[in-house]
Symmetry: C2
DNA sequence: GTTTTTCATTCACATAGGTGAACAAAGGAA
DNA sequence: TTCCTTTGTTCACCTATGTGAATGAAAAAC
């Protein structure tokens, strides 16, 4: 069974018929390694469900790629602010591996929630997930030192070293690659 | 005219009739200085519009009050995660001054958006505002040093020193009161 | 395969911010 | 007013993380 189907079945309580109806609105799209889901300046018109692979979110600040999020299988991919506000994206979202997304167009989502109001659940879950992630990140940055942020990340995403280069991990943690190296050698 | 009325008129394009209908769903509540809008462990059932006064959001971490947000006139007050997810709040929201909120119950909001779908605009604006604030905070914590975070905050809320004790400002910036003092004397 | 580029490690040194103490200033309560 | 509590400042010293360079390892390109 597809990840997206079991995700929707397990996360919400939709009937088989509803699930079919929902799934019909998604389209499957493959992304090559390094291909973009969204680039700075573009309008984000879709939410994507990661069926396979992974993506990073980043901004270019002072010429450096600053990683602000990761998405793996069963995560949603989208730029909330651009999607909701209908404004150009400030961030880039790029596949790190060959990946597959189930895409749902924002207009189609609106349409779908007209005929199936329960779909708003998906929408608010998405919002909540994004919001929770970003506040948690700010909280960690304030309250934990780099070593503890690293350990918290490992706990949350144990396989991250297998799938993301270390300098991206360092960037996400808000430290330099050398510092992450030092932290790892201290353990 | 009430702040809430001009806010809604200026931010969205509702007809006078719609505005009247919307405003009827809000109730005005006064808060004494130090009175709570929401305490850790409670379920957040309202969004509040700050008509007058101000509020801080904080968590207790290692026995310390860690400020994670401020709300002044024309800001919304709510704990998004608790409100949407129907889970106990992890944070406290407290009036710093004698304040007034226009409260809208979440169930009433649902009801209202049935009869007046445009109300969803308010809702998504709220979500977007919260989301934007928290990602911006994380971005600042990663990319700016304490001095620049302080200057960014002053630019965003120029009157903050008149209305919030300095040690709360330091906490929000993720530094100690002594450090903020040092930064201020360097300028 | 070989070469080139990218990524990770280590080191010596620099710097921002934390720590704890002492003190001053401001504000509330009486 | 006076006293007491809260808030802000300054200082000397400490620690975590940044910086830049050198080196090695791994991956990609040829």
């Amino acid at each position: 069974m597809k990840n997206i189907q079991s995700y929707i079945e397990n996360t919400f309580s939709f009937s088989p018929l509803e699930i079919e109806k929902i799934l019909k609105c998604f389209t499957l799209k493959s992304f090559q390694k390094k291909e973009y889901f969204l680039r700075e300046g573009q309008y984000c018109k879709n939410v994507g469900f990661v069926e396979k692979g992974n993506f990073i979110y980043y901004q270019i600040i002072n010429g450096e790629e600053k990683i602000c999020d990761f998405a793996f299988e069963n995560d949603w991919v989208s730029h909330y602010k651009s999607l909701l506000g209908n404004i150009p994206s400030e961030i880039n979202i790029k596949a790190l591996e060959n990946s597959e997304l189930y895409l749902l167009n924002i207009d189609k989502m609106e349409e779908l929630s007209q005929t199936l109001p329960k779909v708003n659940l998906i929408r608010s879950t998405l919002a909540e997930q994004y919001f929770t992630k970003s506040t948690q990140r700010a909280t960690n940055l304030i309250n934990l030192d780099a070593k503890n942020r690293y350990q918290a990340l490992l706990k949350e995403i144990p396989f991250i070293h297998q799938r993301v280069p270390q300098y991206y991990i360092a960037s996400y943690l808000g430290i330099k690659p050398q510092s992450l190296s030092r932290i790892r050698s201290e353990k």
